[in-house]
Symmetry: C2
Subunit: 320 residues, 2 copies
């Protein structure tokens, strides 16, 4: 059954891939993005595009929409530490306006792009949704505030909502890949070294209590992630706020990622060991049991070489 969906932030990396999956599934898709960090060409063919801010969502939302998929947010952890007010204003204030617009229009289904950053330093591994939330950055705190806001909205006003807490999203799909400014994610950074655009990759700490001493993260292919969003649309239940971690449950170390990039690209990737950065936990791995059980999600692209190969294809294309 085809539906009509508003995708906020649909000109960004994850939002764009999800929008493309929705179009491919035969749905009517309207992307709302102010292009403050997104790219016009990231909006998939077949989706309508509104250049606008979520604060003004009431201008466009009406009861013809079946749901909102909400990705629009600032997402740079480092920037959030320096300019926290920007994150509270946009991520939290913007979502308040979006929820009000949804109430006004009678749109009662929401899938929200949350994050593992809501947990902060893990108390155990893998991380489950009932673990404590103690974000260590304004970015994580702003996303947690929105999760709490959605919980209240579901209980009070019958919203059916699913928050998906992403671990390390990677890979590419169609015209959408990772390009942050400044780039801060490991795989695109290592690929920039492979492309000769950076001299070496910095390894921040090689004395962690992990098999090779470098930090372990849970990388998930953006297409697997996108599929979870479509499943979440089906799973959303009026009055309930379901929270699901999205990860593979397998961790890869920084050194494993670098070695995989060497193999996939055939390029040498010099590395430089630097000191640990504050606030980097040794291991961040998801328990995605809830997503498997409640959404019926079954990620099929957990192979790191495959994730890197897709990211490499995008990086080469984008480098031209």
């Amino acid at each position: 059954m085809s539906g009509k969906y508003l995708v906020t932030g649909g000109a960004g990396y994850v939002g764009g891939v999800v929008a493309q999956h929705l179009v491919e599934a035969g749905h009517e898709v309207v992307v709302l993005d102010n292009l403050s960090t997104g790219f016009r060409e990231g909006v998939p063919a077949g989706a309508a595009f509104i250049e606008g801010d979520i604060r003004d969502a009431a201008q466009w939302l009406d009861d013809s929409y079946d749901a909102v998929l909400h990705f629009a947010a600032f997402s740079q952890v480092g920037e959030s530490v320096v300019k926290p007010e920007k994150y509270w204003d946009n991520n939290v204030g913007g979502t308040m306006a979006l929820l009000a617009a949804m109430r006004g229009a009678g749109v009662r289904k929401l899938v929200f792009s949350s994050t593992a950053a809501t947990y902060g330093e893990p108390v155990s591994t893998p991380i489950t949704e009932s673990d404590p939330t103690a974000p260590t950055s304004p970015y994580g705190a702003s996303k947690l505030a929105v999760d709490h806001m959605i919980t209240g909205e579901a209980a009070a006003h019958g919203l059916g909502a699913v928050s998906l807490r992403y671990f390390n999203v990677a890979g590419a799909y169609g015209s959408c890949g990772e390009r942050h400014d400044p780039e801060s994610h490991l795989i695109p950074l290592v690929l920039q070294v492979a492309l000769g655009r950076r001299e070496a990759i910095s390894v921040f700490g090689d004395d962690y209590p992990t098999p090779d001493g470098t930090c372990v993260r849970d990388y998930i292919h953006v297409a697997d992630l996108a599929e979870a969003h479509l499943l979440a649309l089906d799973a959303a239940t009026p009055g309930e706020h379901l929270i699901c971690n999205l990860g593979n449950g397998n961790g890869f170390s920084v050194r494993e990622v670098i070695e995989t990039v060497r193999k996939v690209t055939g390029h040498p990737v010099p590395e430089v060991v630097a000191g640990r950065r504050g606030g980097d936990p040794a291991v961040l791995v998801a328990s995605a049991a809830t997503a498997r059980e409640r959404l019926g999600w079954n990620p099929s692209r957990a192979d790191l070489a495959g994730i890197v190969a897709d990211a490499w294809a995008f990086a080469q294309q984008h480098a031209k």
Copy 2:
């Protein structure tokens, strides 16, 4: 050394008592309150009064102020469950505007009225500031969001801030006592029965794992609480966000409170045992070790009969 302080919500119960303590200590006090839940007569003599909203704080704040003490908030847990958007908009959105006004005016010290409701169901007792925060109402979630916001503001912009997480504030001081609408706090409710304004007090659950089966809470005299705010002004350190629980560390059960009201007032207080309410933990008691160590706080009015006697005097006066 006398200072100049803006007290938001200073026409309310706790804000009014703190404003009065500041006036008595020889400070210049300006109360900002929109009177949406406060009372004009709650503003102490000797304080200036601005009837206005914290969203417009930039109109009045300038660098002549030494600090802001921020109490303005909606604080009814039950209402927050029904109208969560009101709490996000006012408590969180309002504080965003207040912090922006403080940045603009160069006012770099803040004492914030936080709450034990940020913790939710306790994982152990007494509750310490490093315990997990898992609020169970939009009210608690909105206060936690503000605490997170202040943490970021301190780290990024050098704010010196203290959040005080109140347990069960009670008693009265000067012209300020508890009068919520609807009343939801135990001591004023029991006093209404003593006054003959209610037929009986409902005891929500007498089968909790506590000595007499009723819920145990940590009651703190509002004057003790106010003293912690003045100490917090001294303790606030640029770039640091200090969070302190405020409680006596002694719990009293619902039955002990009712019995104390009978003794203090000399009136019979019929009670009716009702079922447990959802979301009521058996025991909520604070560890106030941080407040004692970091603020030098030493509450001197922990005696329940004294707290009830002060509340009774206020209730009788207000009943006339």
